[in-house]
């Protein structure tokens, strides 16, 4: 488990996970959107990795552009010496639900970034991953049930989760783990505009620790922190007749 490929690498959760893997001596290839943030992360990991200049490589890319994905994977495989042990997909945006309701374009763009583009990446990765490797994807508890406050995001994440379920089923005989990571509220720049932060909010480093452990165990579905499994079990068991009247 020494060659690690991360998409959406500059997200707070992915960056924290990358630090943990680097601390264990992993080689890492980073893909992210913002060149400046990516460079800052690459430098940080390079320092943590110690001397070896080969340890951390990076490429900035817009993962919405599906046509570019095969070349990105070629490059990643080459950078990691021809094989990949773990892939973490962490790209994503937090849509403004009201803006989506007012604009079809916005809705489709959000579904593309958070749903279609991730599914596209998983499809291509599934063609390349070797037995023994792991594909970990950050989805969300929001994908478990549509709610009026963020169902565009939830629908995209739900798409990914259901896709991963099928993929897991298909890849299991080849010993490729498909890990669906469902965080709850995480205190990151993505959620900085959300004013109140209470007891259910987790820190990115704690979530990252959960991800690294889940990949080690080759889990199927993990809720982070674990309490969300219980919360979502309750939320998904509320009959729709009642649920539709709730303001959630």
């Amino acid at each position: 488990m020494n060659r690690i490929l991360i998409f959406g690498a500059t997200s707070a959760i992915a960056a924290a996970a990358a630090r943990l893997w680097v601390a264990r001596g992993a080689r890492v290839h980073l893909v992210g959107r913002s060149p400046a943030k990516l460079e800052a992360l690459q430098q940080d990991l390079q320092v943590r990795a110690g001397g070896g200049a080969a340890a951390i490589s990076a490429r900035s890319a817009d993962l919405d552009r599906l046509a570019d994905l095969p070349a990105l994977l070629d490059e990643a495989w080459a950078a990691l010496g021809g094989g990949v042990d773990v892939v973490l997909i962490a790209q994503g945006t937090l849509p403004d639900q009201a803006a989506c309701e007012a604009s079809l374009d916005e809705t489709l763009a959000q579904l593309h970034t958070n749903g279609v583009a991730v599914v596209a990446l998983c499809t291509l990765l599934a063609q390349r991953l070797a037995p023994g490797s792991a594909l970990a994807v950050i989805t969300s508890v929001a994908g478990d049930r549509g709610r009026q406050s963020n169902y565009v995001y939830g629908a995209a994440k739900g798409l990914v989760s259901r896709f991963l379920q099928g993929l897991r089923n298909r890849l299991a005989p080849r010993d490729i783990a498909v890990v669906d990571i469902r965080p709850g509220f995480v205190d990151t720049p993505m959620t900085a505009s959300i004013a109140k932060k209470g007891a259910l909010w987790a820190q990115p480093t704690a979530v990252a620790r959960g991800i690294v452990a889940a990949v080690d165990r080759r889990d199927d579905i993990v809720y982070l922190p674990a309490i969300w499994r219980l919360i979502m079990a309750i939320i998904t068991s509320i009959p729709e007749k009642i649920f539709k009247k709730l303001k959630l």
């Binding site: 940080d44 320092v47 001397g51």
Partner: protein, 436 residues
Amino acid sequence: MKHAKAWGRLPGVGEARQRPWGDRHAALPTEAGPRIAHGLGRSYGDVALNPGGELLMTRGLDRFIHFDRAQGVLRAEAGVSLDEVLALVMPAGWFVAVTPGSRYVSLGGCVANDVHGKNHARAGSFGHHVRAFELLRSDGSRQVCRPGDADGRFEATVGGLGLTGLITWVEIQLIPIRRPWMAVVQRRFASLDAYWDLDESLAAHHDYTVAWVDCLRGGRGLYSAADFAGHDAPQAEPGPGRRRVPLEPPISLVNGLSVSAFNLAYYHLPRPAFSLQPALKYFYPLDGLADWNRIYGRRGFYQYQCVLPRPAMKEASRALFDRIGRAGSGSFLAVFKTFGERPPAGLLSFPRAGATLALDFPNQGAASHRLFAELDAVVREAGGALYPAKDARMSADMFRAGYPALDAFRAHVDPAFSSGFWRRVADEAPSFPQPA
């Protein structure tokens, strides 16, 4: 919004908007200020607070940029903590050249307060080991500052209390160590005069020196002198444990009786004259107990730290101990040390040749303030100064008296930056609304 608190946890400081800051390439916000950086909030008073304004929460600036393992030069973003620095550099045989008594402080905070350690006499302050930093100003400019640059911005920002703009990264020179262990020599002293004798004989031979003084009993105490150990020390270091003060007691656990008992026990505790201690335990005894500042209860506490310049230091320190002893409200942590002659690194740097005394006092309202006023008078008379990082109450007058370069400093203040501390002591009509 979670209330940003300073280490002293004093109540009644108004709220500020908190803006997470994690991208060193980002431009400062364009909305009107006042704003100030807030690192790890280990300053006791209000230098990193900004009632009614905005705090740039710099902990997100937590990336390393470059580490030259051969030369011991580290460049890192300003929100990186000394704890993270040490985790990286100690295994490579390096240590920070100057460290305060907590490692949960940010590099930006160490620059802005120009912090000092137990080796001031040898090494000067933190700013003396800063090779460069980048300063981001509200006019959009970015500038790499180095010591001695013609515009003087380096010297204004070292010790500049965050008022000259936002520091995005810092480059420091580390010191080599052989083992992460300290060789520590300890001696009791029965009086202040005995302290000065010990200081004279031991400080000349050791890198780190500090004393604990029992103010309630006329200035007796414990002197400790230390150096990084050589090859005879163990190779590995035991990880320091961390305990936590579980909850905030409704009233302060620190009162005359407990302090008196503690000081008595501390003085008489059997101590080896010589011992080896893990470096992290030696430098950061309080970090082992997370949230220890909660023992002072809801009303919080004050720290009073002053420096007494050399000519007056002996007489003035005796006067301070007398007054504190008479007031009967002593302190667990009366830390006493002697600063060396090295000229200050910054315009508003606190350390200067002389003696420094730091004491914690539970907040007892008017009674505390009466005592502080008495202590202020002694410090002023001696030509000394109070430490802004520890202060929550000094007057504008007192600040001006202790910091003669204040007027030269003003020219470097970024107009969009201000803090609770600055509005309190800068003695200018505040350009921003004051909290009611």
